[in-house]
């Protein structure tokens, strides 16, 4: 027995589903675009400051030209 009987109802629901799918896809694209724009403006380096961990590379050089960066500390850098 053929079970593939299409009612007008199915077309209506397909229209709704396709509409919703397009909206969600558009939303994903928009969020991606916004992310790219914002990251490009700020750059990647400052974003490291949000890790809740001290990022020595981000700390400006201390007085006397000594950096707090453990890698370069004590070398008069």
């Amino acid at each position: 027995m053929a079970l593939k009987v299409e009612h007008e109802l199915h077309r209506r629901r397909r229209g709704r589903n396709v509409g919703l799918a397009l909206l969600l896809a558009g939303f994903v694209v928009l969020v991606l675009a916004l992310t790219v724009v914002k990251v490009q403006r700020v750059g990647f380096a400052p974003l490291q400051g949000y890790d809740h961990v001290v990022q020595p590379t981000l700390v400006p050089a201390a007085e006397g030209g000594r950096s707090l960066d453990p890698v370069t500390q004590g070398r008069g850098n």
Binding site: V5, H7, L9, R12, R13, G15, R16, V18, G19, L20, L30, A33, L34, V36, V37, R41
Partner: protein, 313 residues
């Protein structure tokens, strides 16, 4: 599925019914005024950010429209103009409208905050609250001043656009708000004059119902006169200029003349010609708002080209 069992779904909503819930015609006005507010601001947003800002302001406005339709379904069913809206027509359940309104409100506010700044997001949240709660749930059924105070909700979009770009509020943003705020009462009261029976039957305390038609005519003239200095004053700020002032002068002269005619008319005279002057004034009021904001946009375009702007003063 047989036709018999499918019958219960015959009134099921199409995608367009959900779009209608967001009041797309009101949204178009919101998009336009918010866009102007954003573009005339002295700070430039990245095009993607500007697009996102306008989109989420529009979605916020649409969400408040859905909440309005959810709360006002009983009134809408009794008015000819609104009887075919999705809820009174029976295609969208009231609970669905409420869910869509709340969900889209949250989405719009959060996304506007992420795309631009917290001030713009807070203003959008306040606008939605003002329209859905202060106007729809409280003022609309309680006072004939509903239109006056409720007009603030429609006046916020250019201010939100400005805030999205600059992160602050200034005199220009306040005057753009004031322009729409003062314009709303004469616009809606003219509509109420020629759709009189609808509001009366629905029990909405329109000024025409509570204080009579001649008082409404006088109010239209008074608010139109009060609108003139606001509209012209905007032309003297940093976003105004000679083009705006020329357009504004012409529009205000026509608008005041229209209001004067409405005020002078007797009700019998209006009934005899099918409310011609009132309908003309209503159409003029739409042009009035679009052309004022269009002129602001033109001034902004000229400033970008290094011409016009405040330097002419």
């Amino acid at each position: 599925m047989t036709d018999t069992s499918a019958r219960q779904f015959e009134g099921e909503a199409r995608f367009g019914d959900y779009v209608a819930l967001l009041k797309p015609r009101v949204m178009s006005l919101v998009v336009f005024t918010a866009l102007v507010g954003l573009l005339v601001a002295p700070v430039r947003l990245h095009p993607v950010e500007a697009f996102a800002a306008i989109l989420f302001i529009a979605i916020g406005a649409g969400a408040s429209g859905a909440l309005n339709m959810w709360w006002d379904a009983d009134i809408d069913a009794r008015m000819r103009r609104t009887a075919k809206r999705p809820i009174p027509a029976g295609v969208v359940e009231p609970g669905e409208a409420l869910a869509i309104g709340v969900a889209l409100s949250g989405l719009a506010v959060v996304m506007l905050g992420l795309a631009t700044n917290l001030l713009a997001a807070a203003l959008l949240a306040f606008t939605i609250f003002f329209y859905a709660v202060i106007y729809t749930m409280w003022l609309k059924r309680w006072t004939p001043q509903n239109i006056v105070i409720g007009g603030a909700a429609g006046a916020f979009p250019p201010m939100i656009g400005w805030a999205a770009a600059t992160g602050s509020i200034s005199l220009e943003a306040v005057l753009m708000f004031a322009l729409i705020f003062m314009w709303t009462p004469p616009h809606f009261w003219a509509l109420a004059l020629f759709t009189r029976s609808d509001y009366a039957e629905a029990g909405v305390p329109m000024l025409t119902v509570t204080h009579g038609r001649s008082v409404t005519r006088a109010h239209i003239l008074a608010y139109t006169l009060a609108l003139v200095p606001v509209a012209l004053g905007l032309g003297l700020t940093s976003i105004g200029g000679p083009i705006y002032l020329a357009v504004s002068l012409a529009l205000n002269a026509r608008f005041v003349l229209g209001a004067w005619r409405i005020w002078r008319r007797e009700e019998t005279e209006a009934e005899a010609d099918g409310y011609r002057a009132e309908k003309l004034f209503f159409r003029d009021s739409l042009a009035y708002l679009f052309l004022h904001f269009g002129a602001l946009l033109a001034e902004a375009g000229l400033r970008m080209l290094g011409l016009g702007g405040a330097t002419w003063l």
